[in-house]
Amino acid sequence: MDTNEFIKNFATQFDDTDLAEFTMQTRFRDLDEWSSLNALAILNMIGKKYSVLLRPDEMKPTNTVQELFDLVKSKQ
């Protein structure tokens, strides 16, 4: 799994936050536009791009892009 590609795939699910603002350390739950719709979109993205079906409760403990990346990687 490539981190840059993961950040890009992650960032695409947001409308108002610029791609350049996203790093592996971004705390996505603190973003102004964070909502349950983003959460579902990210779960869908992970399913489509990485063939990992995460449940919302599995995603819940993750706060940074890095933590989510590690979780997806561990499930592949």
Partner: protein, 247 residues
């Protein structure tokens, strides 16, 4: 005989290998119907078959999105007094990430298959006078909507539109068509791991009756619509949602 009895009726249930379809097949058999059950998974279909009460039931494994399977199924059918269209899928998916294949799959299974099956049983004269057609629709798309299920909502409200059209068209033959609009029902479709248990618990509390429905409760509604108790009921959508859409 009680007007709620299904004795002397022959009833086809699709999607009978699991969830709501299985519960409906079992409930109809308990009410005395001769059942024909169909589903995609042969092992799970046989499990349902073994749960049926009474004798002379039939199981036919078929993928209703496959034209050959559908034609073969209809050829093998005896004359029906009831048809329950249960087969359905639901995957939470935002439109942003929905591909054409996702749309096709949902529409094929949830909408096109029941339309084509209804069409074929009619064209092949497999419906007795006074037959009852039941479609498992949903509150989703008819009474409310959810994030991540726009295509599912479209598939279910399309089914409701179809039901109304044929209710009118088949009324001269005494054939009735009705929908059941359930809220969230505890089935395998839900517990397939996509939704976490604590998320579901929170969601259950949004229902005034503080729980999801049970497949057996949808089955009771189906038995009602299949029975002679509802001989003057056609074109209706029976709401079964624990009060969810009151709010």
């Amino acid at each position: 005989m009680s007007p709620f009895s299904l004795g002397d009726k022959t009833i086809l249930v699709t999607g009978a290998s699991s969830g709501i379809g299985r519960a409906i097949a079992v409930a109809c058999s308990q009410m005395g119907a001769k059942m024909i059950i169909t589903g995609r998974n042969v092992t799970r279909l046989s499990e349902t078959f073994s749960l049926l009460e009474g004798t002379e039931h039939q199981q036919i494994c078929a993928d209703l999105t496959n034209a050959d399977d559908l034609t073969k199924l209809v050829e093998e059918l005896p004359k029906l007094d009831g048809l329950v269209n249960c087969a359905g899928i639901a995957n939470p998916l935002v439109l942003q990430l929905t591909e054409k294949e996702d749309v096709d799959e949902i529409m094929q299974i949830n909408t096109m298959a029941p339309i084509n099956l209804s069409r074929l049983v009619l064209q092949n004269k497999k419906l007795n006078k006074g037959a009852s057609l039941v479609f498992i629709s949903s509150i989703n798309g008819n009474n409310c909507a959810y994030i991540g299920s726009a295509v599912y909502a479209a598939s279910k409200s399309a089914l409701t539109g179809f039901m109304k059209g044929i209710a009118l068209e088949l009324a001269p033959r005494g054939i009735r068509a009705n929908c059941i609009n359930p809220g969230m029902i505890d089935t395998d479709l839900l517990s397939n791991g996509y939704i976490g248990e604590d998320e579901m618990e929170k969601d259950r509390l949004k229902y005034p009756l503080k729980r999801y429905g049970k497949p057996e409760e949808v089955a009771s509604a189906a038995v009602y619509l299949l029975s002679d108790a509802t001989q003057w009921m056609t074109g209706s959508s029976l709401l079964l949602d624990g009060g969810y859409t009151l709010q």
